[in-house]
């Protein structure tokens, strides 16, 4: 049957990135649960959807995609007229958006995901948190958040004065880190703290929590 389907796991940060975008656009979709414990994502038929064996995969009718940030951008452009605006019109505004998405992907996520892995996801697999890694990564995250603090002192959201994909891409990892001692890094920077409270209290951010 045609329609939007997301192949992933409701606890996965990358899957949640896509689900939040779909909720922001008020789109109907089906979440097809991929059994990670059983290695379903490393076998067929999932590998035909994503040969890298990572969730999520996505389809809109017969159009198929993977990579969460390619999916969210497709949703934001294809359904530009529906739900909340996730982009910013004009070539220069879109450039600022693109830059913000790259900063999230290369500067923020690489560090924040390691902190999420050490403090939360390792526990699911019975592994122990390496506090030395946490300390080292928190120093790096602090420097990124110092840059965010300066930016959010000038602009209500990271790319412009309204919520966009740039802010959205951060939400799933931040939600997990707020349940760890790393929360203090967000709390001790007033503009970052206000931004975090704002983006995590959006209805779409709340809908994806288990």
């Amino acid at each position: 049957m045609a329609g939007i389907k997301v192949f992933g796991h409701p606890a996965s940060t990358a899957t949640r990135r896509v689900l939040i975008a779909l909720h922001e656009k008020k789109l109907d979709f089906e979440l097809v649960h991929i059994d990670l414990k059983d290695g379903e994502h490393k076998k067929e038929p999932f590998l035909s959807r994503n040969p890298f064996g990572k969730i999520p995969a996505f389809e809109d009718g017969d159009f198929k995609l993977f990579e969460s940030r390619a999916i969210t951008q497709y949703i934001a452009h294809e359904y530009a007229d529906k739900g909340n605006q996730l982009l910013s019109p004009g070539s220069k505004n879109m450039a600022i958006l693109a830059m913000g998405m790259e900063i999230e992907a290369h500067e923020f996520d690489s560090v924040a995901s390691k902190l999420g892995w050490e403090q939360i996801f390792k526990n699911f697999f019975g592994l122990t948190t390496d506090q030395a890694v946490v300390k080292e990564e928190e120093v790096k995250l602090g420097k990124v958040l110092d840059n965010y603090e300066a930016r959010l002192g000038e602009s209500k959201y990271l790319a412009c004065d309204h919520f966009t994909l740039v802010d959205l891409h951060h939400i799933p990892v931040i939600q997990y880190l707020l349940g760890t001692p790393t929360k203090k890094l967000f709390d001790e920077r007033p503009h970052v703290s206000a931004w975090v409270a704002d983006i995590t209290s959006r209805p779409s951010s709340q809908k994806i929590l288990l």
Binding site: P51, E67, K92, A95, M99, E102, I103
Partner: protein, 220 residues
């Protein structure tokens, strides 16, 4: 006024932007930043990019950093001239270009840049030797990525389809450096990947940029 690119042509990330400018037949000025003297960490540079990295682009009152955001901007601004790098006329085609650009960013780049860092950058810094364990771990990851590329490039001429796009372009500088190491077999042993690379490095835009890619790896 022509766009300004702050950086040095030997940086893979700067080369990414220069390739795009040449593909789009766009005039620009390259403003040198002395990376060895750490000028990219000075306040005057940090005011353009607080993350202290090259390249930075200035186009009138717009200042941009992150090479893949810069290439996207250039490709969009000049979509009506030069090579069509984004397939902008079709939303689904654009999404496929973005998909394979994300693959480069999240799967290819971390593995290849870790290898290049050990074999090229670490020796330049002079304090320690390349970490063989890191090289081996990342060569294995890179091999798995290239297996996926081998299959993909058996179906399409380029990663996102039958025309050259940003998804291919973004790979070029790091593959060029990687092919100078003793591990070029990872590319040469995969016939579709090899043919794709030979195509990419024969493009006129690449022939203009490659003379700037001057740093060389330790040969081990």
């Amino acid at each position: 006024m022509a766009m300004k690119v702050y950086g040095d042509g030997m940086s893979a990330c700067v080369a990414r932007v220069l390739l795009c400018l040449h593909e789009k037949e766009t005039e620009f000025e390259l403003v040198p930043v002395d990376l060895f003297a750490c000028h990219h960490k000075l306040p005057s540079f940090l005011s353009m990019n607080p993350f202290g990295q090259v390249p930075v682009l200035q186009d009138d009152d717009l200042t941009l950093f992150e090479s893949r955001a810069i290439t996207a901007y250039i490709a969009d601004k000049h979509k009506d001239k030069g090579t069509d790098l984004t397939r902008h006329a079709d939303a689904k085609e654009t999404a496929i270009v973005k998909l394979w650009s994300e693959v480069e960013s999240h799967h290819f780049n971390p593995a290849v840049s870790a290898v290049i860092h050990q074999l090229i950058v670490v020796p330049l810094q002079g304090e320690k030797s390349p970490d063989a364990a890191i090289v081996e771990e990342n060569l294995e990851k890179l091999g798995k990525v290239l297996d996926v590329y081998e299959e993909r490039l058996g179906k399409t001429k380029y990663l996102a389809g039958d025309s050259y796009t940003l998804a291919d372009l973004h790979h070029v500088p790091y593959i060029y450096y990687f092919m100078k190491t003793s591990h070029a077999g990872l590319v040469n042993d995969r016939p579709n990947v090899k043919a794709w690379w030979e195509d990419l490095c024969s493009r006129p835009a690449f022939l203009k940029v490659s003379p700037g890619l001057t740093i060389a790896p330790v040969t081990n």
